[in-house]
């Protein structure tokens, strides 16, 4: 049965039973209602009518009684009328009752009542109408008779009522019985209905759940990923049956799908295996730069991958027609795996010739043995394939195996072979490129050497030519010259004597002739500075001050030079005598205290107890040395202190030798210090430790060299001890003995000599070059100085003009460009960066953009510190740069480099 039918019929039955019960209940209640109505209306009506009859009879009775008791015995008309009114009422009621009453007993009683009434009526009427008769018989008697009759009538009516009441009681009783019965029926039918409904429901539920459970159980059995899916047996052709049918279809579809997926997975795995192996091989061969190493690694790996038991790899050798062994796997040398195979020879050779792989499944005996420690056996499959690149043979690979090759293995081998070919090719190309690169570099350098050699040869030839020419000329002249020279020599000799005399005279004069005008110049400048008349403006006073200080510097310089030349020419005279040490020191202290104050430095002079109070030396020179050292110390010290310490040199040391008998004057400062490498340089004439500092600190650099020479004359020595950035200590050692002993002399000379050796050579060189050079290479050149600061222009111009350079200047970039255009013979430009109108960078860029000045040397004048600025200069087109303040020696070297053609 279908579930729908089942459910419809089940619920139909239950609803039917309910309707039945409802109908029964309704029928019964209607019957009861009728009965109640009957009871209430019918019986009540009957009793009411009966009572009407009784009441009316009562009335008649009372009228009669009135009559009886009336004195005259006359019947009042009024009474009669009342009586006659009662008759129809009674009759009506009796008639009505007759119609209504159906019970036999009641009917009979009613009949009796009706008769009794007739009798009573007759009596009453006779009383009223038949007076005579009544009179005859007596009224009283008639009345009595009427009373009798009335009583009979009432009794009869009461009978009737009681009968009716009895009936009513019976009817009520019946109704109650019926109610109980109805209730019972309803209860029974309800119970029946509920039981039936329950039964049906149970049946339906059980049927449906059993069928669904069956389906569910089958569905539960499904395992995903299996090849087969369970099916449901179809027993009923109901809805569940349809579900089962649909499920079965789905299950078959899943089976199908699973199958396809499985196949796909397998093929992907195969593909994956292939790809992984290939990429392993590729990774392995990636970094390889050696074909043999690569071959060995490759053949090992591929053999492992395809489980081959024997493998060989041949590559095409240098000889066209030959393959040579590159690498092997599990190779046993029995004359089979050969080192060299000619193309076309054997299977390997054939494979190389055809360019086609060869697969042999049936391997004959004695072909190759796969050997282990235990024994050897024949392989069952052999695969030989060529390694090709764009159809060209690179090598051949041979693999043997105890089992046959699977298609995947074969395809792996084939694809790997392609890869191997590419890699081998790459390695070969790489080697070639490397070799070519090195070759090109070698060639390049050789060419460079050759060109240099050629150039040298050319120059040599030219010089030789010149020399020959010169020789030719000179040999002619030589004879003449020799004669001339002879005569000249004679005169020269005289001249030398004369000039020596002149020189000393000149020096002596110099001191006077130079100093006198200079002094007046200084004094006049001083006066101008004071500006007593008040007619100078600030700038002019500034100029005067500059003249004054420059004059002083010049004076000092002249003094220094004179001193130095005096010392060098041996003209410096010593005035040795007794010197009171304290005098010198107090004088010195006085001299320098105000300097210290001015520079805000601490200054102290201390003397140790063991210093003798009197020395035997030249007071003036000693003071000069100390003064020089102190002014140097103050010059190079910005903050901190300067000390003058005088002591006995028992703790001082010079190169391991103690100065036991010396007095030492140490000047200790906390200034800029001197780099270790420059300790010796500072004593050179015209030199300072850092070439550039002279611009910052001023001075000629003569002070120390004069001091040294003076110290030497006093049989002493000056030592320096300094750490750059921390300060310096200059110490003067003087012998304490009255007359220098021989030992001391020797020592002093030795020290002096050693210093000379290291120092004087470059100095000499410098002199030499400056004589030759400045005339040669810079003279006649034209240099443009571009700077907005007149002082710089002046300083540079005077320095350059000293070297016979023509100098032009301009004050900003724009002017410079105009000047360049108007004076095309400018050889070099010195360019300041910070300028108004057009700064150095812009100016250089502009100049460089102009065709004729692409290679014009431009030297940028940069600030000292900024590395960044320099790069900017170079980027803007500067050829080189030099820091301000400019070191002249450096500038001249630089100019020579850039003016070199």
């Amino acid at each position: 049965m279908k579930l729908r039918t089942l459910l419809y019929s089940g619920f139909g039955i239950v609803i039917g039973v309910m309707l039945l019960i409802l109908m029964i209940a309704m029928g019964m209640s209607r019957e009861q209602n009728e009965r109640m109505n009957e009871l209430v209306q019918d019986r009540y009506e009957k009793i009411k009518m009966a009572n009407v009859i009784r009441t009316e009879i009562g009335k008649i009775g009372r009228e009669l009684n009135e009559l009886a008791y009336s004195q005259d015995g006359v019947i009042d008309i009024e009474n009669i009328k009342d009586i006659e009114k009662s008759y129809p009422k009674i009759n009506n009621s009796i008639d009505s009752l007759k119609q209504v009453i159906k019970v036999k007993e009641a009917k009979e009683t009613l009949l009796v009542t009706s008769e009794k009434f007739q009798e009573y009526k007759a009596v009453v009427n006779s009383i009223i109408t038949l007076d005579s008769e009544v009179r005859e018989k007596g009224l009283q008697q008639s009345l009595q008779l009427a009373e009798q009759k009335r009583e009979q009538l009432v009794t009869s009516i009461e009978n009737l009522i009681s009968i009716q009441e009895t009936i009513m009681d019976e009817t009520i009783k019946e109704t109650e019985d019926m109610y109980v019965r109805t209730l019972q029926i309803i209860i029974i039918t309800t119970i029946l209905g509920v039981v039936m409904g329950l039964g049906l429901a149970l049946f339906v539920i059980r049927t449906i759940s059993t069928r669904l459970n069956r389906v569910k159980n089958v569905m539960k059995q499904i395992e995903y990923g299996t090849e087969t899916y369970p099916k449901i047996d179809i027993i009923h052709k109901d809805e569940v049956g349809e579900i089962s049918l649909a499920f079965n279809e789905m299950s078959s579809a899943l089976e199908q799908h699973e199958k396809i997926e499985r196949e796909l997975m397998e093929s992907m795995e195969r593909e994956n295996w292939l790809k992984t192996r290939l990429s392993e091989l590729a990774t392995m061969s990636q970094g390889s730069l050696d074909s043999e190493e690569l071959g060995t690694k490759f053949i090992y790996s591929i053999s492992r991958m395809v489980e081959a038991n024997y493998a060989m790899l041949y590559t095409k050798g240098k000889k066209e027609n030959q393959l040579s062994k590159l690498a092997s796997y599990a190779f046993v040398d029995k004359g089979i795996g050969r080192d060299r195979i000619t193309i076309g020879e054997g299977l390997v050779g054939q494979c190389a010739l055809d360019g086609q792989p060869i697969l042999i499944e049936q391997v004959p005996d004695n072909y190759i043995k796969i050997a282990s420690g235990l024994g050897e056996t024949n392989p069952s499959a052999i695969f030989i394939l060529p390694i090709l690149i764009e159809g060209e043979l690179v090598g051949v690979m041979e693999l043997a195996k105890l089992t046959s090759f699977t298609p995947e293995q074969l395809s792996l081998i084939e694809q790997a072979a392609v890869q191997l070919g590419i890699t081998l090719n790459r390695i070969e190309k790489h080697m070639q490129i490397q070799e070519l690169l090195e070759e090109s570099q070698t060639l390049n350098e050789e060419l460079q050497t050759q060109s240099e050699e050629l150039q040298t040869q050319q120059e040599e030839l030219r010089t030789m030519n010149d020399e020959l020419e010169a020789q030719y000329h000179s040999s002619e002249q030589k004879t003449k010259e020799l004669e001339k020279i002879q005569s000249e020599l004679v005169t020269k000799n005289e001249e030398v004597i004369q000039s020596s005399k002149y020189k000393s005279e000149f020096l002596a004069n110099m001191s006077h002739e130079l100093r006198t005008p200079l002094n007046s110049l200084i004094i006049l400048a001083q006066m101008l500075t004071e500006n007593k008349e008040g007619n100078l403006d600030e700038k002019q006073i500034e100029y005067a001050k500059t003249i004054h200080s420059s004059g002083n510097d010049l004076l000092n310089l002249i003094n220094d030079i004179l001193d130095l030349s005096k010392i060098e020419s041996g003209k410096m005279e010593l005035h040795q005598g007794e010197v009171v040490v304290n005098d010198i020191l107090s004088y010195t202290e006085r001299q320098f205290t105000h300097v210290a104050k001015k520079k805000n430095l601490e200054f102290s002079v201390s003397v140790s107890d063991d210093v003798p109070s009197i020395l035997y030396t030249d007071e003036q020179r000693l003071y000069q040395i100390i003064k020089n050292l102190l002014s140097n110390a103050f010059k190079f010290t910005e903050k901190g202190s300067v000390q003058l310490v005088v002591g006995k040199a028992s703790h001082g040391k010079k190169k391991g030798t103690a100065f036991t008998d010396h007095i030492m004057f140490s000047v200790i400062d906390t200034g800029i210090g001197i780099d270790q490498t420059k300790h010796t340089i500072v004593f050179d004439a015209f030199r300072q430790a850092d070439g550039t500092t002279s611009r910052k600190y001023g001075g000629t650099g003569l002070g120390l060299s004069i001091s040294r020479e003076l110290a030497r004359m006093l049989h002493g020595v000056i030592e320096v001890d300094s750490v750059e950035g921390e300060g310096s200590t200059f110490t003067l050692y003087l012998p304490m003995t009255e007359i220098a002993t021989e030992e001391n002399l020797y020592f002093t000379q030795e020290v002096a000599g050693s210093i000379e050796k290291t120092e004087e050579k470059p100095g000499q060189d410098l002199q030499l070059y400056s004589k030759q050079e400045e005339v040669n290479s810079l003279a006649g050149k034209k240099i443009m100085v571009v700077d907005d600061d007149m002082r710089n222009i002046f300083a540079l111009t005077s320095a350059l003009e000293g070297a016979e350079v023509n100098v032009v200047f301009s004050e900003n970039g724009k002017e410079a460009i105009d000047m360049l255009v108007s004076q095309p013979d400018i050889d070099l430009v010195l360019m300041d960066i910070m300028m108004p109108e057009m700064d150095g960078y812009e100016a250089m860029q502009n100049i460089r953009s102009m065709q004729p000045y692409e290679s014009l040397p431009i030297i940028a004048l940069t600030a000292k510190a900024m590395m960044h600025d320099r790069q900017k200069c170079i980027d803007a087109g500067a050829s080189d740069y030099i820091s301000k303040p400019v070191n002249l020696e450096q500038l001249f070297s630089l100019l020579k480099v850039w003016l070199h053609k």
Binding site: Q434, L437, E438, E445, P857, T862, D880, I882, H900
Partner: protein
């Protein structure tokens, strides 16, 4: 006459010619102790023919004859074979890379030893000194500059270089990241510039032959640029071995920009610091 000269441009080298060259090199080795046998053959061949042409000779053997009997001819040939191409701050990027990548590491080393193998006339050694000076390392550094050619060593010791090269050197210096003005380091002396003597205070110039001599110290830096390009592969390997032995752990090796360590056995022992400028660092083992 001209036709008799072997055309150098042709790449083909007959067996006979090869034999002659080998005999010449063998003879030089046996007689003078100078070993050019493992030099890059094509380069040696070109240099030999260069000399043959200059001397107006006709064959390698005739040169052999002269070389064996005339020491002056040997000197000439020796100069031909030892190519001395160099310049200051050659390949400025190398020096820039050195400044950026190597100098900071050297700051940690108490005493720095640098070997300039094949220094030629010393330009690069002076460049290195300038670089170290600017990095504040010169005082604690010793630069051993060696070359097999004693004559160039003598020249290097002077620290004088031709004036006409200076413009180029200046731009090299700037390109190498120089921090000062280049002119602070030299002064012009007639047609040459003389570099400041403080630069050579820490340079030791010495004759050393990479082919025949062994290691003489342990170095923190070895610079051997464009030297091995004249050697064949065997000799290159030997020299690499020598340098590897002479290099302190974590020491640096600088090669020429056409050279590479990739093709040698020592590749795995070095770490690339700058692949373009061929600076390598020896790995700690």
């Amino acid at each position: 006459m001209e036709q008799l000269y072997q055309p150098v441009e042709t790449n083909e080298c007959s067996k006979l010619e090869k034999l002659e060259i080998e005999l010449l090199l063998e003879g030089i080795y046996r007689h003078y102790g100078l070993d050019f046998r493992n030099y890059n053959f094509s380069s040696v061949r070109r240099r030999i023919w260069h000399r043959i042409q200059l001397e107006k000779l006709t064959s390698v053997t005739s040169l052999l004859d002269r070389v064996l009997r005339e020491p002056q001819m040997m000197d000439k040939l020796f100069s031909d074979l030892s190519i001395n191409v160099t310049e200051m701050f050659r390949d400025p990027d190398f020096f820039k890379a050195f400044r950026m990548r190597v100098a900071p590491v050297l700051k940690e080393v108490p005493i720095i030893r640098i070997w300039h193998a094949g220094c030629s006339t010393g330009e690069e050694a002076y460049s290195m000194a300038i670089l170290l000076h600017e990095e504040g390392l010169l005082k604690k550094a010793k630069i051993y500059a060696t070359d097999m050619n004693e004559r160039v060593i003598m020249k290097a010791k002077l620290g004088r270089f031709p004036l006409n090269k200076m413009q180029g050197y200046t731009s090299n210096y700037v390109a190498s990241g120089g921090k000062q003005a280049f002119s602070e380091y030299y002064k012009v002396v007639s047609e040459e510039v003389e570099f400041h003597p403080f630069l050579r205070e820490n340079i030791i110039f010495a004759q050393h032959n990479l082919v025949t001599d062994s290691s003489f110290n342990e170095f923190h830096v070895i610079i051997c640029r464009n030297v091995m390009i004249y050697f064949d592969r065997d000799l290159q390997d030997r020299v690499h071995h020598l340098m590897f032995e002479s290099l302190a752990p974590s020491g640096f090796l600088g090669l020429g920009n056409r050279e590479s360590i990739s093709y040698t056995k020592f590749n795995q022992f070095y770490q690339e610091i700058d692949s373009n400028e061929k600076i390598y660092q020896k790995m700690k083992l």
